[in-house]
């Protein structure tokens, strides 16, 4: 127990003194996960919306698959991406393995189904509200999607933040495809794994607190947004 207190004290010192390694790792975590978020949202938000309003033959199958993909174990995704990006794999010539780009790719694959699924559920509810009106007003397909996305933007924001939370805390996939290389692909989660393995709990705890703080901010943001929803302000 005394080790934990000692570790917490040193962690506080690291944060307070803005330790260079800590900053480097934190910024890279944000860079990787935010990039993954932007790309995944660009894919998932239109997809989820489109699935909510279009009727086509295998729609239920697609929706079920998308929901199932949410449960993809991240480490398995990491392994598959690793094999694809390795020099012996089909995309090896791109030389992406062990770079932040590979980590972003893996995280995009992991969080896109999550964002798409939440988006779909929110858009489906909104569409059932707006359905008769938008058809009556003779809207085009594109106008419908735009209206739903704009009026449902808070729910979409929640979906995106959920994806971000998943990404920033992920460790298995990015450890495999990134290689946890110091100053290149080391991020908060992989650094925690490394320092814990070395028995250096002070730095690991410091990194852990930063990660918790980031996750807390994200969750607070979601909470604030959804509360405005409940208060009746759209």
């Amino acid at each position: 127990m005394s080790e934990i207190w000692a570790g917490m004290a040193e962690a506080f010192l690291l944060i307070w003194s803005l330790d260079a390694d800590l900053i480097d790792i934190t910024l890279r975590s944000l860079q990787v996960s935010l990039s993954a978020l932007v790309i995944a949202s660009a894919l998932a938000l239109p997809l989820g919306t489109w699935l909510a309003i279009r009727r086509f033959r295998h729609r239920r199958l697609v929706i079920a698959t998308m929901n199932a993909l949410m449960g993809l174990p991240p480490v398995v995704v990491g392994l598959i991406v690793y094999l694809l990006l390795s020099r012996t794999g089909p995309f090896g010539v791109l030389g992406l393995l062990f770079t932040p780009a590979a980590m972003i790719i893996a995280q995009v694959i992991i969080i896109t189904p999550l964002i798409a699924s939440i988006t779909h559920q929110a858009m489906r509810e909104l569409w059932s509200d707006y359905h008769d009106l938008l058809i009556s007003l003779n809207t085009t397909h594109g106008q419908r999607i735009a209206t739903l996305i704009w009026d449902g933007r808070r729910a979409l924001m929640t979906a995106a933040l959920a994806g971000f939370g998943r990404a920033i805390g992920e460790v298995g996939a990015i450890m495999i495809v990134g290689g946890n290389i110091d100053h290149v692909t080391r991020v908060l989660t992989t650094a925690i794994a490394l320092e814990t393995g070395k028995g250096d709990f002070a730095l690991a705890l410091g990194l852990g607190f930063v990660l918790i703080a980031l996750s807390l901010c994200v969750n607070l943001a979601i909470h604030t947004l959804s509360r405005t929803e409940r208060e009746g302000r759209w």
């Binding site: 803005l18 260079a20 900053i23 480097d24 910024l27 890279r28 860079q31 390795s86 020099r87 012996t88 090896g92 030389g95 393995l97 062990f98 290689g179 946890n180 290389i181 110091d182 290149v184 490394l194 814990t196 393995g197 070395k198 028995g199 250096d200 709990f201």
Partner: protein
């Protein structure tokens, strides 16, 4: 605060000036702390930015075979020779050695302290059925452990529950041993640099059978044309240089030297 901004800018930009080289090295090499001293010196003297992938020997060899790295630094002679023989590595260059030690609970229920050889130490542990943590990850350390069991006429596959394979790197395995208060075979450097010793202490060392040779193997450019053969050669030249010799021999933890430089020019 200014430091933070400067660091942010550095990350945002690209470090275009230094040439990068990918080296796969074993967890025991990194856990010893030696890499933290060598890498800056290498950058200073050669301008090379060595990107270090810290993995087990098995994965390091796999990375070398697939050409995902430019060179490997491992400590498993038989695997290394096979690597070169199969044409994946251009050659093998011995750099330095350290030794393995037997770590265990300070109470020493298996009486390892009294052993006169490494094999005897392991035999004592087996007969006492004392809890033993094995790397179990096909690393150099793990292979050394397996070789010792074989020499002691034991088959680890037949061991009962006292033998725990954790399938992890050196640090993580030491963590497990500390938590279980178990025996474990570790390289001296990782042990000295390990921060969570708990009740464990060094019980046996010094047997020549515990000799642990580290070698440098560049990936063969004839196999993988894209590898940075020149940079790998530059790194090799540095690793066998007098400067490297001074740093490696001079690296100490708690007043104890960990590695012995034995590269031949």
């Amino acid at each position: 605060m200014i430091r933070a901004i400067l660091i942010a800018l550095t990350i945002a930009g690209t470090a275009a000036s230094a040439e990068t080289l990918r080296l796969a090295a074993t967890t025991s090499f990194n856990n010893s702390g030696l890499s933290d001293v060598l890498l800056p010196a290498i950058a200073q003297d050669t301008g090379l930015d060595v990107q270090l992938l810290v993995v087990g020997t098995g994965q390091a060899i796999w990375l070398g075979q697939s050409g995902d790295v430019d060179a490997i630094l491992v400590h498993s002679k038989s695997a290394e020779l096979a690597f070169v023989a199969a044409g994946y590595g251009s050659h093998r260059r011995e750099i330095m050695y350290n030794d393995f030690v037997v770590i265990g609970p300070s109470g020493d229920p298996a009486q390892v302290r009294a052993a006169t050889s490494a094999i005897e130490a392991l035999q004592s542990i087996a007969s006492a059925q004392a809890t033993f943590v094995s790397r179990g990850d096909d690393s150099g350390t793990h292979r050394k452990e397996m070789a010792l069991w074989t020499a002691a006429d034991h088959e680890p596959a037949d061991f009962a529950a006292w033998y725990r394979e954790v399938g992890a790197g050196m640090g993580a395995s030491l963590n497990s041993a500390s938590a279980m208060n178990a025996y474990i075979l570790a390289d001296r450097a990782s042990w000295l640099n390990f921060g969570n010793k708990g009740d464990l202490s060094l019980l046996f060392a010094g047997d020549p059978a515990l000799f642990n040779q580290y070698s440098y193997l560049p990936v063969n450019p004839e196999r993988h044309a894209h590898v940075k053969a020149q940079a790998a050669q530059a790194l090799e030249n540095w690793l066998v240089s007098p400067r490297a010799e001074r740093i490696i021999n001079g690296y100490e933890i708690g007043g104890e030297a960990l590695f012995v430089f034995n590269a031949r020019p």
